[in-house]
Amino acid sequence: MLHKLSRYLLVLIGILTLAYSIPILYNTLFDKRINTPQILYSALNDDFYIRRHDDKKVLNPVDTKGKEYTQTQMLEQCPMFYAPSLHQSGLLPDSIDGVKIDIETWHKHFIMYGFLPQSLMNPSDEYRLFPLYEATEKITLPGDLCRINKRVEFVNTQSNKVNEEKSGLFTDAFEKEGFVFPAKIMAGNSSHNKNRVDGWFITDQRGDLFHLKMEKGQPLLKRIALPEDFKIKYMQYLEVQNEKLYCFIITEDNRLNILYAKDYEIVELPIYDYIPEEHSIYIMGNMLFYMFQVNTENSVAAYAVDHDHNIMDSYYEEFKPKSEMLMGKAFHFIFPFTLKLTHPRSDIRYTNYVKFNFEGFKTFNWIYLNLLLLVITYLLIRKRKLRLKNNMVDLLIVAATGIFGFIAINVFQNKEY
């Protein structure tokens, strides 16, 4: 009996392997790139500009009414995006909406940031070790690394031993502030190429948020008050020159928030339908407004938000998803499901993690091919003069897994002796 089992196991392994490999081959041969447009917001015209490009060249930008502009015109219409080049050519306006503009203040307030699934979730987070920089001295990489498990520990990298004295000092500070070990999410800048030391933002076992810094070798831990029912899922620290911002925080219910430096104020942003695991979001900020662009597989949305966090204007555009293009449609006719270990690197959803993702298709287009293969399998069984009774499982396999099962049962053949 075991030999029969061994065959089905091989068929299963074959199906998994093929469900992984064949779609990749298919996509390598036929994949079409979707060229997501770039959205800009003009504070001069209070309108969005859309920059598209196809596979070969960048197209002329258009506004929301479809009016076409030259590249130079668009540059001039969107000074908040292109201030340095406008400054060079002397075209940077002195003020917009009564706010004085100069290149130095622009630099101070400019934020350009993108969150992709792969930046929110990265295997390197698994190290759970971070350098804690001394805030009051010249910034150099410390000789120890910090871990926060059952307590705070500093491991000297040279000797590979725990610095008990320093660890005890910090553990006491954490306990005093009511930190429940171990730490969960950490956000901060681990690089030594930076201008200032903001330390680390750390959530504890219960999900409470703390701000950790080290000054003159002493721990400085502050609890940050969170709004009610505020459960942090992702946290990204950003170093903005004006020192007004600490972090972007994404909550469990996929809401985007800003953690401001002043009084650790947390403000929810009016961005909706953003799923951090599947979409990417680009954040642009300046002294006049924020602009958020959310890209999904088949849409792009842009929000212009003022500094009081109200939406001034928004733009939404949908394009044909791959599944409706010829290659996508054919894909669904051929493959009943696929096994993905990673998404392709061109896919928004790509991360550096390997996971077993089965994507079963909601459409039932593959049924035709499955039926055809089922008939062929049946005919092959008759031709090989095999008993139908012994091949019921094979028929079921073909019915359920289509082309993958068909190949697998024919590679690992069911023979009767």
Partner: protein, 218 residues
């Protein structure tokens, strides 16, 4: 049965053992040299923030060991169809097949365990626990690839028909490729358990080829 298997593989076993451990030792000798030039904190910082993997040297070594043990165990069985002798032993044929595979798996397990032990043990001398934990997660699929290669070698070698041998080799190769999809440290943290389960399923696969051999496919 184990006696015969041991006579077949002992040379390759010792060779694999020496090469496997030798590579680990050589790797740390290189790292010791690198740490003389770069402070340890910068070295580790590169691992954490630059996806620097310090042990790529032996990435394909387990794969090679698994294949070699498989070849040394199964090729002598199929030259002159000696497997007939094994199947003629007064044993259940499936049991005979499983004993052969068990022996191979144990041998590989011994080599891999010692390699892993040396790798993690010596690594802990240089690096904190977390670094070696991620390292273990990263090397796990490489070792599983070694076991898989052994099973694939087995079913390919014993399969009597060339056409199917090639088909098994292709599927086996594509499966092994799934262990090397990403190169970043820690990438397989969510996939290792699934792969381990598949590996267990793979373990009895050899019976299929033996069965086909016994039933006189040619």
């Amino acid at each position: 049965m184990f006696y015969k298997e041991w006579i077949k593989i002992r040379l390759v076993f010792w060779l694999s053992f020496v090469v496997g451990i030798g590579i680990v030792v050589a790797m740390y000798a290189i790292i010791r040299g690198e740490l003389a030039d770069m402070p340890t904190n910068h070295y580790i910082w590169n691992m954490i923030n630059r996806n620097f993997v310090f042990f790529t040297l032996f990435k394909f070594v387990p794969l090679g060991i698994g294949t070699l043990i498989g070849i040394s165990q199964f090729i002598p069985e199929i030259t002159e169809k000696r497997l007939k002798l094994t199947l003629h032993l007064p044993l259940n044929e499936e049991k005979a097949g499983l004993q052969m595979v068990t022996f191979g798996v144990i041998s590989i397990f011994i080599i891999f365990s010692l390699m892993l032990f040396a790798f993690l043990g010596m690594g802990r001398y240089f690096f904190p626990f977390e670094v070696m934990r991620v390292a273990a997660i990263t090397v796990a699929p490489w070792f599983m690839a070694g076991f898989t290669a052994y099973f694939v070698t087995g079913i390919v070698a014993i399969e009597p028909i060339w056409k199917y041998r090639i088909a098994y080799l292709i599927i086996g190769g594509l499966f092994v490729k799934m262990y090397f999809v990403l190169w970043e440290a820690g990438s397989y943290i969510h996939a290792n358990a699934f792969f381990a389960a598949l590996l267990v399923l793979f373990s009895v696969s050899i019976l299929f080829s033996i069965y086909r051999f016994r039933k006189g496919e040619m």
